[in-house]
Symmetry: C2
Subunit: 407 residues, 2 copies
């Protein structure tokens, strides 16, 4: 597997575009499109929030069916969530407009929205945006970059990744982009994520890979514990790489899965690191838990703890809060057995062992915690399972961004 520059337009046959549609933002792009002339099989996973945005309902019906998919259209101003029948109608009207512009069936168009909940879409501007997107469609890195920027809301950086693998002697590419900075607590999954590939793979296997992998990637990040109404990850595969179709588990399946996992984990970590107001990526690795489920619950409990997140912001080695967060996670364990470590590029130190503080240097701990990527390792010594979760620190800017997001 080789990481390459690029994103959704890296696989063969995928084009992208961005447009300034003035949905909510001014003087920036706020609509994006991904398009493959070759019909794609699709797979998707969506929010578990019982309040589901209209586009989630629309996309779910399509990716569950055997219908080929040609395009994704997204806006980053208004979430089209809690908008009733009107919102569902507007979702269909958006797909109709794209279908007409691209000469494809309306049910081959996936729709995604992110932004303010509760407002109705300004359909004239959406329709105008679709026209602009149609005209701007292009292949290549530049178009992919622009699409990745157009789906951003409070994100500060675009999030893209692409990798190449070889399947049956053919080069297969997987590319992806995502957005998400607040209301990030995937289950499944928080954010918009779009992954494209020119791999030839069966729909059943693709959906299985997506559903499995999000449990260890997007579902293991949290910015603020809030699971969005719009969470969407869709994957399109157009088969243009010409590899022998991957339709059963074996070497090719493993190679593809590993590459797909790399793409999802990279995008997930980029979202956590760019959490609203964040100054640091905060990773928690749980080792030797009794089982995988417990490992995941423990890791997520730490990265979700407001007190721990605030301590990370302050570069404060307040490990008591970490042990406290493990303790209230719901998982039973013996605190006297746990070892806690801090790790970053600046070093690694043991901070808690045998039921009380290890003799570490506060100065060294602060140095380790002052890096932009900080890891807590919790060795539970209870079994063989492990899990990693990613979050970010809690800062003044998180409050600032969210105290008046709508104005």
């Amino acid at each position: 597997m080789k990481q390459i520059e690029g994103g959704v337009t890296s696989p063969k046959g995928f084009m992208a575009a961005a447009a300034e549609a003035n949905i909510k933002y001014k003087n920036r792009t706020d609509m994006a499109m991904v398009y493959s002339e070759t019909p794609c099989i699709s797979a998707g996973v969506y929010t578990s929030n019982v309040v589901k945005a209209a586009p989630v309902l629309w996309d779910k019906a399509i990716t569950k069916s055997d219908k080929p998919v040609h395009a994704i259209v997204a806006n980053s101003g208004i979430a089209n969530a809690c908008t009733g029948q009107q919102g569902l109608d507007y979702c269909k009207e958006t797909a109709d407009a794209v279908a007409k512009a691209l000469s494809v069936p309306a049910d081959s168009v996936l729709v995604a929205s992110t932004g303010v909940i509760g407002m109705q879409l300004p359909m004239d501007r959406i329709i105008g945006g679709v026209d602009l997107l149609k005209k701007a469609l292009a292949g290549g890195k530049e178009a992919g970059d622009q699409a990745a920027r157009a789906i951003m809301t409070t994100d500060t950086v675009p999030k893209q990744v692409a990798v190449e693998i070889t399947l049956g002697g053919k080069t297969v590419t997987i590319g992806g982009m995502s957005k998400g900075s607040g209301m990030i607590h995937p289950n499944m999954c928080t954010m918009l994520g779009f992954v494209t590939t020119d791999a030839c793979i069966s729909k059943e296997l693709l959906q299985e890979i997506v559903s499995t992998d999000v449990q260890d990637t997007f579902n293991m990040i949290s910015v603020d514990g809030d699971t969005s109404t719009n969470d969407t990850l869709v994957v399109l595969a157009n088969g243009l790489a010409g590899n022998p179709e991957v339709k059963e588990k074996g070497a090719d399946y493993e190679t593809f899965f590993e590459a797909f996992h790399f793409v999802c984990e990279s995008l997930a970590k980029k979202m956590a690191a760019d959490g609203e107001g964040a100054t640091a990526l905060f990773e928690t690795k749980v080792l030797h838990a009794a089982n995988k489920m417990q490992a995941k619950i423990l890791a997520k409990s730490v990265i979700c703890s407001s007190l721990t997140k605030a301590a990370i912001y302050g570069h404060d080695a307040n490990w008591g809060r970490i042990l406290c967060a493990l303790g209230y996670s719901g998982v039973s364990f013996d605190p006297d057995k746990v070892d806690l470590w801090f790790e970053s590029k600046a070093g690694k130190i043991l901070i808690f062992t045998k039921g009380s503080a290890a003799p570490y240097s506060e100065e060294e701990a602060t140095k380790i915690l002052s890096e932009p990527e900080v890891t807590v390792i919790a060795d539970m010594k209870a079994g063989d399972a492990q899990a990693t979760a990613w979050g970010c620190d809690l800062t003044y800017d998180y409050v600032k961004i969210n105290a008046d997001y709508r104005s």
Copy 2:
């Protein structure tokens, strides 16, 4: 039931004291004592965190036994949590010192600690503090006030309440004090809470009342979702009111329960309103839920949502976040049936109904949300159950307080 001025020293026979022991804070009191010469029956509920502080283990053993209790001693500098065997030994040494000073058995002394996790108690200062407390012991309002101040950590105001009721022709008083501002997410329960009463009541009924009532009071508040290692609520009853012993359910039991509930709810709301950095008490009432458990889960999900808390700070009627928080709570419901209201002293408005926004005035909503006590009402229209939860807004100061708490 009549609310009166005072706290733990209001019931007959209870004395209190505060002392400057320099445990961690300088130039303020940081140790408190409550004492009844008459032996008390006791009841207690403690943190569900698997990481339990040493004093929690000590108190739990005593309140579970039939041993009479005479005193509570607390310090507000160091939590004595994650301190291993040394911490347990120091806890016993503290009780021994109090026992010697007051000429009571060591196992009639409850010990409570709150503050930094992981540090060992400076036992010389603790012992010195016990001597000061012994000398300062006094009855009356002033002593109660001072004890309530001495247990504060990041709290900005002391929290006390007292009520009088009549049982069997006798005046019975219940008084309480509590502390808690951060790491507040009781289960059960977050904080230190001490309730005294001169009621004559059986130990079994008292424990049952305490265990039941915390589910609707202290366990329904959250400041930051972090369940502390030290959560403790203990209740002492010395029987000096001379009422006929309450030993079965009936009119006297109901009267006592109602008064006890008022004391606990008052203290719980005072803690939520004084959450670290908070500018507003944020109440969520869930009406017509399918059952009580669901009502509680829904109400807590809203008051725990970081995004909703930040919006309350910004006086922003961002109701989409409220619906989103209901949606990811884990409770299944029909979003189209839900009505959402904002209410405060400034008025009450319907903001969401029949699946989309109600035609409310943003100006009026902002006015309602600018009060120091703000309520969200979620009418689920699914059944007859209701629940109320209390939290606070999320502010810059929460981050400030917690980014560098230890220094």
